[in-house]
Every structure is written in C-alpha cells, then in structure tokens.
Amino acid sequence: MAKERTSTMRKLVLTVDDSAAIREMLSYVLKSAGHKVIEAEDGMDGLQKALSRQVDLVITDQSMPKMDGITLVKALRALPQYKKVPILLLTTESSDSMKDEGRTAGATGWLVKPFDPTKLIEVVDKVTGGR
C-alpha cells in the first residue's frame, strides 16, 4: 500500500456501494490513510455486515438494489449501537430534497461523486474524531 499512515486513530470503515469500482477506490483511499475497510455491495449486505461487526464509520451509496442508502441509514439509526456512529452518504444525487431526506434519516453528511480522495480523508478524520 502506498505510503500508508501509521495510525493510532485507525478506524474500521464499512463501505456500501453496488459499484465495484467505487468500493475499490474507497478501499484504496481509506487504507492509504491507515483505516481498515469492510465492503458491502448493497444496503441489505451493509446492514448484515454492520450487525455482525461494530464499525466506526459507514460510507454508503444512495441508489442500490435490495436496500437504498437512506433506508440503510434509518435501519442503522434504529439500532442502539449505531445511534451515534457517523454515516456518510456518497452518491451521484445532489438534489436538495434528497439531501433533506438523508439529513432527516440521520445521515452525518452528504458527498457527491466523484469524491476527492484528500477531501474524503479530511471528512473521515473530522466525523470520526480521528484528528
């Protein structure tokens, strides 16, 4: 891994996206910053993985088969162990109404694709209290 950050603030991040390319790019960027990553390919898979292992941050797409991102946010927020875990929506959607829906569901932030890797790491550090 290129220049991986040795980190005492290493976090376990769950990435949820039906696009393999996005999952791989997220994984690459997050691992480069020293974080550990679990990947899920849709909301349902994401929910199952979040239940099987407590993660420090969830980054999810909105539009996915089986379960969309906002439904996943609602499902996670209904669980006591995920009440305060940051959840970022990373999506092509940029409409205000959809953002409001995400905010109301309990998302921590909204990132429009494509993501800037440096900015993403800054956001991850900020929402997880990593720096």
């Binding site: 290129a2 220049k3 953002k99 909204w110 990132l111 694709k113």
Partner: protein, 176 residues
C-alpha cells in the same frame, strides 16, 4: 368513418385506413429494429466499459502493490507515484457514473422497444378482418390497446438520469 357514407367512399376510407395501418406498422417495425440494435449497442458498451474498468483497476492495484515493494531508497519517487495513484482514484470513478447513465438509457430503450412491439400488435389486431367472431375480435383489439397504452405510460414515466455530472471533477461535500 360513418355508416352514412356511400359504399365507394366507405371503400376508399377503408383502403386509406388499411394503408395508414400498413405505414404505421412499417414505422413500428423500423422503430423496433433500431431499438433492438440500440439496446445491443448499449449492452455491448456496458461490457466494454466493465472490461476496461476491471483491467484499469487491476493495473491500478498492481502498480500500488509494486510501489509498496520499492523500499525506503526510493521514498520520494514512491510518494509522488502514490499521489498520482490517489488522484487517479478520483477519475476512475467515471465507471460508476457512465454505468448509471447507460443503465438509464438502456431502460429508456427497453420501454421504447415495448411501445413499438405493442403498436405493431395493436395494428395487427386492428387489421384482422372481422368475421362472425366479431365480438371476440373487438375484445382482442381492446386488450392490445390496453397493453399499448400501458407501454406508453411506462415510457412516459422514464425520468431524467440522476447523473448530472459532465466531467470527473470532485462533487460537493456537506456535513449536517
């Protein structure tokens, strides 16, 4: 056409209606053919895109793996290559955006194809000469008409693609 028309006028109207039916049928067949071709081209584009993306990702990871093995002697070079790979990770996301656009177009073409098929079926049903089984023929036409209107409604419900991006510049970030 009304029942008050003369037999000659009725015959002319009937011929013209038949011709119109044939013309619309021909247009429908052409539309059908082109929609099928467009559908195949889109599916082929998806395959090419997926293959190219897969190979780009493999090369990307291989370069990253090789970079990790270079050691401390070439740390500066490794840092620069690492920065380039990081920048490339933003632009490789084109695959997701293009994939979503193609999927929307594919759905649109599928629905166009369905309208074209239903139109042809409706015209065939309307062109079928009436016999003593007229009532059953009318029911058949009504059924085809209903199917055609459903296909049109499905086509009309195709909305705009969610993807508005025109390049791979980074999107906005908003923390709530």
């Amino acid at each position: 056409m009304t029942r008050q028309q003369s037999p000659a006028a009725e015959s002319a109207a009937s011929v013209s209606s038949h011709d119109l039916g044939r013309l619309v049928g021909r247009a429908g067949a052409a539309l059908n053919l082109q929609c099928r071709a467009a559908h195949q081209e889109l599916a082929q584009t998806q395959l090419l895109l997926a293959d190219a993306t897969r190979k780009l990702l493999d090369s990307f990871h291989a370069a990253n793996h090789a970079l990790a093995g270079l050691g401390v002697q070439v740390e500066d070079a490794a840092t620069r290559v690492g920065q380039n790979l990081l920048a490339a990770s933003q632009h490789l996301q084109f695959s997701d955006l293009v994939g979503q656009l193609l999927a929307t177009t594919e759905q649109r073409v599928d629905r166009l194809l369905l309208v074209s098929q239903r139109l042809q079926e409706l015209i065939q049903a309307m062109d079928t000469p009436r016999t003593d089984a007229q009532a059953s023929g009318d029911a058949h036409v009504a059924g085809e008409k209903r199917a055609f209107l459903e296909a049109v409604a499905a086509l009309e419900s195709c909305g705009d693609s969610r993807v508005k991006q025109r390049d791979t510049r980074a999107g906005n970030v908003e923390l709530f």
